[in-house]
């Protein structure tokens, strides 16, 4: 009986959790009770066995993986992030009024300019100031200046962020059929690259610099070109990048997550070493790009963009399979597909209503003008010109400082002039362009319109 009482105390006794009196009683009992002493020994052994259990260190890549997941989570959830981040970074692809485009060649879209950004369009042999977004192709050049930055997004392939004073030219955009290279050249400055192993995984992805060729697959990395020092710096956040010197394209080094290397002109790449803290902090900006939604009207920045919008133009929404897809957008795309398949006007209107819901439910200054223009063009496509005007009007009056405001006036002018037979309103829209947006690409369209109406 006494033993049973003592046995309940033994576990606490070995942990030193008994009062002085209890301890004394237990010790007195133990000295004369071999059974309880054995029990005490067994309890101690149990404790020691558990304590002796091998402790392992977390593997180094756990930090990288966690940091990335935390970044993704933060972006999807933090109130400061774009309300579109969840819905639009979703599954979608290319929504266009005629059909989904499933491209064999990836698109490259320059968007989100901050500060002065210029784009050289090789086909036209001219430099334009970046406003809104535009497509780029082979031999085109994107250039940032002091304090400016811009993103180049290729759906299902990569996102590239150009930091200030950087110049990147598009080498080649690859083809799914031939599996040819996707190549960009950096002549100076710094870029952050988020490359994914998506539909174009078969296409080698290379970033060339005056000193090195960097090949990546499903990698997040940074490339910095310092012309004065004649060197290229490469740091990797996730995945690995093969770096080869132009001096000897055979020998290369593999730079893995958390490492960096440097290549001086005419020399072999240095052996990879660990990123310093400040480099690590800098490169972490990569967490902000790549997963960011890109909503962009696929129209040029030139004077014909109003006509392109009404053709109708495709709306580009970046795909991101990792993010949760809100039911709203999923359903919208479903309805949209159905409308196209069944050639059903009713379904089209339903789809359009859902697009409008998205704008209403997830308002965002950055993307709304493009979304609303797209909705207007969709109405135009369906022959519902009044509704189209309403949507364009929302951009014109709601976002007068947006680079798309002049475009909204231009398409309003066209719709009033050509479809609604309302020359005074058309004239007023065109005149607004000349008075309020005299520098905009729409001035040519406005002048033409005014001269047509006055004839």
């Amino acid at each position: 009986m006494a033993c049973a009482r003592f046995k309940t105390l033994l576990s606490r006794y070995i942990d030193g959790r008994l009062s002085a009196d209890e301890t004394r009683l237990v010790e007195e009992h133990l000295s004369g009770c071999p059974d309880c002493s054995r029990e005490l020994q067994a309890l101690r052994e149990a404790r020691e066995l558990i304590r002796s259990k091998e402790r392992l260190s977390p593997p180094p890549d756990m930090d990288f993986s966690f940091s990335k997941r935390l970044g993704d989570l933060n972006q999807a959830w933090h109130p400061m992030s774009s309300p579109y981040a969840r819905p639009l970074a979703a599954a979608v692809v290319l929504v266009c009024c005629a059909a989904f485009l499933y491209l064999t060649a990836p698109l490259a879209v320059v968007s989100n300019p901050q500060g002065t950004v210029k784009v050289y369009l090789a086909k036209k042999n001219e430099w334009i100031m970046m406003e809104g977004s535009c497509r780029v192709g082979r031999r085109d050049i994107v250039k940032t200046f002091q304090g400016s930055q811009v993103d180049i997004a290729m759906p299902r392939v990569c996102s590239i962020r150009l930091k200030s004073n950087t110049e990147v030219s598009v080498g080649q955009l690859g083809s799914r059929i031939t599996g040819s290279d996707i190549r960009y050249s950096v002549t100076k400055g710094k870029i952050l690259v988020f490359h994914r192993q998506g539909a174009f995984a078969r296409n080698p992805f290379r970033i060339e610099t005056p000193h090195a060729v960097n090949t990546a697959l499903g990698t997040d990395f940074m490339v910095s070109v310092i012309p004065a020092a004649q060197k290229t710096w490469v740091g990797v956040l996730d995945g690995s990048v093969t770096v080869k010197s132009l001096a000897s394209p055979i020998a290369g080094v593999t730079v893995r997550a958390g490492q960096k290397t440097e290549v001086y002109a005419g020399r072999l790449p240095e052996s990879p070493t660990a990123l310093m803290d400040e480099e690590w902090n800098e490169i972490q900006e990569l967490y902000q790009i790549g997963e960011k939604p890109q909503v962009a009207l696929l129209i040029s920045t030139g004077e014909h963009r109003a006509r392109e919008l009404l053709r109708p133009c495709p709306l580009f929404i970046s795909d991101n399979k990792d993010s949760p897809i809100p039911a709203l957008l999923k359903e919208t795309v479903g309805v949209f597909n159905q409308a196209i398949r069944e050639k059903s006007a009713e379904k089209h209107l339903e789809a359009i209503g859902r697009f409008e819901d998205i704008v209403a439910t997830f308002p965002d200054k950055k993307y709304d003008p493009q979304f609303l223009l797209f909705i207007g063009a969709y109405y135009y496509y369906l022959g519902r010109y009044e509704d189209a005007i309403d949507s364009f009007e929302k951009v014109a009056s709601g976002y007068p400082d947006s680079p798309f405001a002049s475009l909204a006036y231009a398409v309003m002018g066209i719709v009033y002039e050509e479809k609604l037979n309302d020359p005074p309103k058309a004239l007023s829209a065109y005149q607004t362009i000349l008075s309020k947006y005299p520098e905009s690409p729409e001035t040519a369209e406005a002048r033409l319109g005014i001269s047509r109406i006055s004839r």
């Binding site: 606490r12 959790r17 558990i50 259990k53 756990m62 997941r69 933090h78």
Partner: protein, 192 residues
């Protein structure tokens, strides 16, 4: 971030600071990973669950009213995730272990699990003891496993353990006593 008190890091994390939360992760990741590892017995899964535990903590940090209780809170999340993991794995396994894997139907997957206790060298001996400890832990019911791993494995006080498992301190003491006894018994049975 190194010298910042934990409660301050919690407060900053509530404001959405990724940096502060990463510091909390760095302070606790090893402990939590080892706790989960002992709980579920798989290192690879433990790494994954550890990350999940912290991501879940980040998502719900707003509900942690007392910033000084991060430690027991994160152990609590890890405990819940591990417990759920075990339940799900058991469901999957019940089937696979009992299904015969040869056409005659007389060998089951359970028979093919290698028995490391028979390895002769000392390294293997040590390894074998570690595995025996794990097997004995695996055989414990969840409440014994939790109290044993938190008190003896992680060195948490009775009070912290009580906070983590939402038990009374007296319950921790009595269950720990029974858990130690049960564990010793299971460990001995295996050795025979």
């Amino acid at each position: 971030m190194n010298g910042i008190p934990e409660s301050e890091l919690v407060a900053q994390s509530k404001e959405g600071s990724q940096e502060a939360f990463t510091e909390l992760f760095n302070r606790y990741k090893e402990k939590i990973m080892n706790y989960i590892h002992s709980y579920i017995g798989s290192f690879a899964e433990a790494q994954e669950l550890t990350q999940e535990a912290f991501l879940s903590a980040y998502r719900h940090i707003g509900v942690l009213h007392d910033a000084t209780k991060f430690s027991s809170w994160i152990y609590s999340i890890a405990t819940n995730l591990s417990r759920n993991f075990i339940v799900q794995r058991r469901r999957r396994r019940t089937e696979s272990l009992e299904n015969p894997i040869n056409p005659e139907g007389n060998i089951t997957l359970g028979d093919t699990i290698p028995d490391n206790r028979l390895r002769p060298d000392t390294q293997a001996d040590r390894q074998a003891v570690q595995e025996e400890i794990q097997r004995a832990i695996d055989a414990l019911p969840p409440h014994y496993r939790e109290v044993l791993l938190l008190c003896d494995g992680e060195g948490l006080s009775y009070e912290k353990t009580a906070e983590t498992l939402h038990w009374k301190v007296g319950t921790v003491a009595s269950r720990l006593s029974r858990a130690r006894r049960k564990f010793r018994e299971l460990f001995q049975t295996q050795r025979k």
